[in-house]
């Protein structure tokens, strides 16, 4: 059956847009290559939960190798691409970090002479951030001096002993910190039960307290009549002779190729999947890929090089308990200070300690936990005694960092797979080194016995941005300020591909706010955008 609106991808942005467009009285269809998740089979409901991070819940599709996974050639990048295909997309495996971008993130060219300015700003997105928080269920604490006012959150995630310990270290240095903004509900909310501190949020939440979009937006969108077709892998978007999108070819669960006609097409397939789909959608009118007359599709990939710092403490901190990724964060070094030797900045995120097996394995590999007689005591001195920190650094849009089509690698349907080419800029390298040094400094100030740090972390490429960038100029951007392709009137992109810059925080909150903003621009002029 023809759709009025076809959404490709049921993850972070696709779910939000599906909900926002679901009450227009139009036929909305969403094609998703993954399937519905079964929370009762998530790792946290099984005793071998830690090992499953190495198998069916590994962050990389190349390691998981599930039938629905899109492989990616990431050999030419120090950071591996991480994403998950399912109803809920990568939110199934995110840690639920939900900080917003700062107002300055949208004006980096004007303010700091780096990156580019967005065609929209924080204030235009502010009401969409709030709408998204309300739909999602976000915990945090109002009054953060690092942000304009943010209201309406659930109580913050508990600090735990570890959070309190390191908070005192930040205070000693006079540095900013604040309880994490987390898409994790700390009170019962919208028919969902509150967080019970299972721990590994990034392996799926069996409790349903982590706000992945399968439990936030999708129930509402489906109730409003959106048709969600799972196990449906889109191969290409088709256009008519006038250059308007007419629908998408896809492979269904049985591997049969089908066509879904539509009057308006919205792509929500993440910073790699969207570029891949556009580049695969070649035609006479678009020989270099759909919506790619600028040649910018796939360019300017940004991935947030991540540093890791860990401190070991004398006293037991029970640091292995609590939502693994969310505790407190610091934005002391977020805004530009050129005396540091680089432009823009980063967020320091305090993580919980590792589970027993990860503690033992990383301890053995790093020689912190020796073989032999001292093994048992060393393990006990480490387990629950460590505090981790992620350093999320802003990287700039650079054309050399790109998604292209791999000439050889294909998915199970024979669709060309993406290849990423990525390197860290000098600015990113300096920022990362500075961030790791500051991370160790705060560990020391908190009383750690010893500290270690490294970066970029390879298996950390979750934040995939910039490959179909937004802008006013059709020669330098792929979509305009409302997410509409410069080249194809009835084609929109709503995922983090449209990001102009990356900010120095996790992108989920902003990408959903942007998606809702674009959805409202579509709503306002829907009949202008629908193909006749």
């Amino acid at each position: 059956m023809p759709a009025d609106i076809l959404i490709i991808g049921a993850g972070c942005s696709g779910a939000a847009v599906a909900w926002r467009l679901s009450d227009l009285g139009l036929k909305v269809v969403c094609l998703e290559q993954g399937n519905y998740m079964d929370p009762s089979r998530y790792p946290s409901a099984t005793i071998d939960w830690e090992q499953r991070r190495q198998t069916d819940f590994h962050p990389s599709p190349n390691v998981r190798r599930l039938p629905i996974d899109m492989p990616v050639n990431d050999c030419d990048s120090p950071i591996s691409a991480c994403y998950y295909s399912a109803v809920g997309g990568s939110t199934i495996l995110y840690s639920g970090h939900f900080p917003r971008f700062h107002p300055s993130d949208f004006k980096t060219k004007t303010l700091d002479g780096v990156g580019d300015d967005w065609p929209i700003d924080y204030h235009e997105l502010e009401s969409y951030y709030a709408m998204n928080d309300q739909m999602t269920g976000v915990s945090g604490l109002a009054g953060d001096p690092a942000y304009p006012p943010i209201e309406g959150m659930l109580p913050p995630i508990p600090l735990g002993r570890a959070g309190e310990k390191i908070a005192k270290g930040f205070n000693k240095l006079g540095w900013h910190w604040w309880p994490a903004y987390a898409a994790i509900i700390t009170r019962n909310y919208k028919n969902r039960e509150r967080c019970i501190n299972l721990g590994p949020c990034n392996l799926g939440c069996a409790q349903g307290a982590k706000s992945s979009t399968d439990v936030t937006y999708w129930p509402h969108a489906l109730r409003n009549g959106v048709e969600l077709k799972t196990l449906s892998t889109v191969s290409r978007i088709a256009v008519d002779r006038a250059g308007e999108a007419i629908g998408a070819h896809y492979f269904d669960a049985d591997g049969t190729e089908r066509f879904q006609p539509a009057r308006l097409v919205i792509i929500a397939a993440n910073g790699i999947g969207t570029a891949r789909l556009l580049l695969n959608s070649k035609s006479e009118l678009f020989p270099c890929g759909l919506a790619n007359r600028s040649g910018k599709v796939g360019k300017n990939l940004m991935m947030h090089p991540l540093g890791y710092v860990e401190g070991v403490f004398d006293e037991p901190l029970n640091s292995h308990l609590g939502p693994q990724g969310a505790c407190i964060s610091s934005q002391e070094f977020y805004e530009t200070d050129l005396s540091r030797g680089f432009a823009r900045g980063f967020t320091m995120q305090i993580l919980r300690g590792q589970g027993p097996i990860e503690t033992a394995v990383s301890g053995i590999l790093r020689q912190d936990i020796p073989w032999g007689e001292e093994h048992h005591q060393s393990f006990q001195n480490m387990f629950g005694h460590t505090i981790g920190m992620a350093i999320i650094t802003e990287d700039f849009p650079e054309e050399c960092n790109a998604v292209t089509l791999d000439p050889n690698l294909k998915d199970r349907h024979g669709i060309p797979a993406p290849k990423i080419t990525y390197r860290l800029s000098e600015n990113s390298k300096k920022m990362l080194a500075f961030g790791i040094a500051r991370g160790k400094e705060v560990m020391k100030a908190s009383g750690s016995l010893r500290e270690m740090g490294f970066g970029p972390v390879r298996m950390a490429g979750w934040h995939l941005m910039g490959t179909a960038r937004m802008g006013y100029n059709p020669k330098t951007s792929v979509v305009n300020s409302i997410g509409q392709s410069h080249d194809v009137r009835n084609l929109f992109v709503v995922d983090s591909s449209v990001f102009v810059t990356s900010g120095g925080v996790n992108p989920a909150s902003t990408l959903q706010a942007v998606a809702l903003y674009i959805a409202d621009q579509i709503r306002a002029n829907i009949y202008e955008f629908l193909r006749n």
Partner: protein, 139 residues
């Protein structure tokens, strides 16, 4: 791959060199928790046995404890990746065992559905941060 009795003795020696038993704490050694050796473990046992014969003119499992440690340490330096790989699998298996988890209070059941309690923490620590005032750039 089948293991002879001698190989099994060598395997147990190797496993207990990685994680020895600790009777005082009630912890078993890695040889006592049903570790299933694979091809990589066989490679290591062969390396250790060959080295023991060359260096000390004896089979690995027949060496004294100090000599076994000496041989293992010298071979770990020569084959760091292989030994790390095997150690990783040994500790992964070891810390899955109910007996070990019970003694170390690591949790004998999955996190869900019981969950855990975590201290809320002292949010008055934020006063210093709050009173410092706004730190974002007003655009």
């Amino acid at each position: 791959m089948s293991f002879s009795g001698i190989d099994e003795a060598g395997l147990n020696d190797l496993l207990d060199l990685i994680i020895p038993p600790d009777p005082q704490k009630g912890l078993p050694g890695a040889s006592q928790v049903g570790f299933q050796p694979d091809e990589e473990v066989w490679k290591i046992l062969k390396i250790l046995d060959d080295a023991a014969i060359v260096e000390l003119d004896s089979r690995f499992h027949e060496l004294s404890h100090p000599d076994r440690v000496t041989v293992v340490n010298s071979q770990r330096k020569s084959h760091p990746r292989l030994f790390s790989w095997v150690a990783k699998h040994v500790v992964t298996h070891y810390y899955q065992q109910q007996q070990v988890r019970r003694v170390l209070s690591l949790g004998e059941s999955p996190p869900f559905p019981e969950g855990y309690s975590v201290e809320e923490g002292d949010l008055t620590l934020l006063e210093d941060v709050y009173f410092r005032g706004s730190i974002y750039r007003h655009v």
